[in-house]
């Protein structure tokens, strides 16, 4: 267990209680019906959890990054689908934090503080890992931009009040012509297309966004024209640890459920053998290491140091750990695992895919590995 301040412990405990009361009891049912559940948001209003990533000057709680990770881990523990709803809302807020001006922040965070949710629209059918290959356009007409295009797999899209949408202000310039915008729900021409049905995180809402001649004020541009790619990358650097946190929660949940089942099943002289014991130990080792990697990344961010590489490492490692631990949990419990804990396996798979696949993270990490180290100090050169 990592060393936390009294305040962090209290917040973690409150999140744990919230999750036990409002998320765990409904998680399985929502997974079955594949329904997004606004009632959970209603409950979250009281806990002010949506305010945790909003700076104090805008009326938020302004939790440090580590504390946010503690809360997200608990949500992931309760249900990675509902956790994804929270994480995706924070993802969109991160773009506003990265590039928004004072007025934009005030405007974007207001509904969030009221427990409404945000949504981040970058991906398109032809632009997944290749995020710069999008075709959605934002053409300036007078003091407005007119948006046209299709976004896909957009988390929270059907229920969000506010969106950050990426579109080309200069289509000829490709990636360099990408810009970020705040788009509000309900504008004429802004509609929801296909609602996706997914292998896991089924209680989260994933949709296609259709933009047809959607007029937005020019003041909705985040940063400058052409800065979209930079905004997206900075946002994802900030947001990736949230996926790591959900993954740690998911892995911890699978481990706990597995241990509970083993203790209930193997009693008396029918004790669990070493094969089982060691696999449980391996699961615990992975969960612990994943959590520490994540917390270290968060401490780097909180202390103002670069954390881009560590963010990629945490996302990749924690997602891989969730996949491995949940799969082992199901296999250790055989038929019981397959019928009762399959959700954790299904939920884990997306952790390796969304917010930059683990392959994209490995590109980021390997570039850092292959960057020459700074020249050694003079004293060392002298052979001391």
């Amino acid at each position: 267990m990592s060393i936390l301040t009294a305040e962090q412990k209290a917040i973690k405990q409150a999140a744990k209680e919230f999750v036990a009361k409002h998320i765990i009891p409904v998680a399985d049912a929502l997974d079955k019906t594949c329904e997004f559940h606004p009632k959970v948001l209603e409950a979250a209003k009281e806990s002010k959890v949506f305010a945790m990533a909003v700076p104090k000057e805008y009326g938020g709680l302004d939790y440090d990054a580590l504390t946010q990770a503690l809360v997200l881990e608990e949500w992931g523990y309760g249900c990675a689908g509902i956790g994804t709803t929270l994480a995706a809302s924070i993802l969109s807020m991160d773009s506003v934090l990265v590039a928004g001006n004072d007025e934009q922040k005030r405007r974007y965070f207001k509904p969030i503080l009221n427990s409404e949710i945000g949504s981040f629209g970058l991906t398109e059918p032809g632009a997944g890992s290749d995020a710069g290959a999008g075709k959605t356009t934002a053409i300036k007409v007078g003091d407005e931009y007119v948006l046209n295009g299709t976004k896909c797999w957009i988390t929270n899209g059907g229920f969000a009040s506010v969106f950050v949408i990426f579109a080309l202000t200069d289509p000829a310039a490709g990636m360099k012509g990408l810009s970020a915008f705040i788009v509000e729900r309900g504008l004429p021409g802004f509609t929801i297309g296909t609602v996706d049905h997914k292998l896991g995180i089924r209680s989260s809402n994933t949709v296609e966004l259709l933009l047809k001649d959607v007029h937005i004020p020019a003041t909705n541009l985040l940063g400058k024209e052409g800065e979209g790619m930079k905004v997206a990358m900075k946002t994802l650097d900030m947001a990736r640890p949230a996926i790591a946190a959900l993954s740690v929660g998911l892995a911890q949940r699978a481990l706990d459920e597995c241990a509970k089942h083993v203790m209930a099943t193997y009693t008396g002289k029918n004790y669990a053998g070493q094969t089982l014991q060691f696999k449980l130990a391996d699961m615990q080792i992975l969960v612990e290491a994943a959590r520490e990697t994540l917390h270290n990344t968060m401490r780097l961010r909180d202390s103002g140091q670069p954390f881009s590489k560590e963010s990629a490492i945490a996302k990749t490692f924690c997602a891989d750990v969730a996949m491995q631990v949940t799969t082992t949990a199901v296999s250790l419990m055989g038929s019981y695992g397959y019928t009762h804990l399959g959700k954790y396996m299904r939920d884990s798979k997306i952790m390796q895919i969304y917010e930059g696949t683990n392959q994209i993270q490995r590109l980021v990490i390997s570039r850092a590995v292959l960057t020459p180290a700074p020249a050694p100090a003079a004293a060392q050169k002298a052979g001391k």
Binding site: H197, K198, G200, T265, T339
Partner: protein
């Protein structure tokens, strides 16, 4: 050792592939959605003799060898592993009677099982760590005219649709699994009750449920093999079953890797198909390799079974291999397809859920290792 399939094995595999394309591909997605037992498809399977493959010709079966059988299972699984599950569970029950049954039991059941008029099921597992020891353990008490069974079997596949169950009960709760005794039980027997179907994440359409026994009275002739021989019978059946189930895993893996490779060739990112990226090639290459090696391993075990040679260690090895690497085939192929690999509108998520069923269901973690380790001289 001959690595080439005989003409018979190739032909029977091809006929199963064609059956899959014609009858299973069109219903596989719907079957996965509804989870309803596909009675019409099972009738079609019977019509094509796929339900009596291993049953001797003299009692109405096809009299095929086990190496041919796994060709059928692999090829059916490329289209629908759920349907292959129904076949596997039926066949293992038929094999139990064929290998351990009395002449009367064989005469009575095998012709009906061979033609698919009766479906078989194996009622072996319980909620406890091993059969015969948990709180719900099925017990068999001897009385004047036969036996009385009480308790519950868990996760019985083909439950509710089977006409005959191969049931394992402990004849002495004090020693538990060591006194395991097998019975052939007709589904209409008074006191046999099928529980609510379990919701599984995959292999939907192959029913899974608890089977409860409340004062089920059986005649002495229902005994399969000898009293206390159940553990040995179960071990042999399970070993055979794991080889048959491995063929399901390989069929699913093959379907997945073919789909992912086709996807990679047409999915353009960064200006070229992702298939040219080394990271994608590695994912595909590893899955294709694991799938190929698993196929060789299971075909080797199948041939040993067919030739009546010892096969238990090889069966345990293929199981161990696939418990470790079976699910990985889908973890990696889904990864190749990224967001598309996670959407239930695409094929891989179903295969993901199915393959976990063929490798993780009924897999007490230490089963294969114990047998393999003990075999190393």
């Amino acid at each position: 050792m001959n690595f080439e399939l005989t003409e018979e094995q190739q032909l029977i595999g091809q006929s199963a592939r064609e059956f899959g394309k014609e009858y299973l591909d069109p219903i596989a997605v719907e079957l996965d959605h509804t989870g309803e037992y596909p009675a019409k498809i099972v009738a079609k399977l019977a019509g094509h003799d796929f339900l009596g493959l291993l049953i001797p010709a003299e009692v109405g079966g096809a009299g095929a060898g086990f190496a041919s059988y796994v060709q059928v299972i692999e090829n059916l699984s490329r289209s629908s592993a759920a349907v292959a599950s129904i076949v596997n569970n039926h066949t293992i029950a038929a094999l139990a009677i064929e290998q351990f049954g009395s002449p009367e039991q064989q005469k009575h059941y095998l012709p009906k099982l061979a033609k698919g008029e009766t479906l078989g099921a194996l009622a072996l597992f319980e909620s406890g760590p091993t059969p015969g020891v948990g709180p719900d353990a099925l017990t068999a008490v001897k009385h004047a005219e036969g036996w009385v069974l009480n308790g519950k079997k868990a996760y019985v596949r083909n439950a509710g649709v089977a006409g005959v169950y191969i049931v394992f009960a402990t004849a002495d709760p004090a020693v538990g699994a060591k006194a395991l005794t097998a019975f052939v039980v007709d589904s209409k027997t008074t006191g046999l009750k099928i529980g609510t179907p379990e919701e599984t994440m995959g292999l939907k359409g192959c029913p899974v449920a608890e089977v409860a026994f409340e004062n089920v009275v059986l005649p002495e002739t229902a005994l399969l093999g000898a009293v206390n021989q159940g553990q040995a019978i179960a071990a042999k059946l399970l070993a055979i079953f794991y080889v048959a189930e491995a063929a399901q895993t390989v069929g699913i893996g093959q379907a997945a890797v073919e789909h992912a490779a086709a996807y990679a060739k047409q999915r353009v990112q960064f200006g070229k198909p992702v298939a040219v990226l080394q990271a994608i090639q590695t994912l595909l290459a590893e899955v294709a390799t694991d799938c190929h090696l698993a196929r060789l391993g299971l075909q080797n075990a199948a041939l040993l079974i067919e030739e009546g040679k010892p096969f238990e260690v090889e069966a345990a090895m293929i199981r161990s291999f696939l418990v470790r690497l079976g699910s990985k085939m889908l973890l990696d192929t889904c990864q190749v397809e990224g967001g598309f690999g996670y959407s239930e509108f695409m094929p891989l998520p179903r295969l993901f859920r199915d393959i976990a069923g063929t490798t993780l269901l009924d897999a007490p973690g230490d089963y294969p290792d114990k047998i393999i380790a003990a075999s190393i001289a």
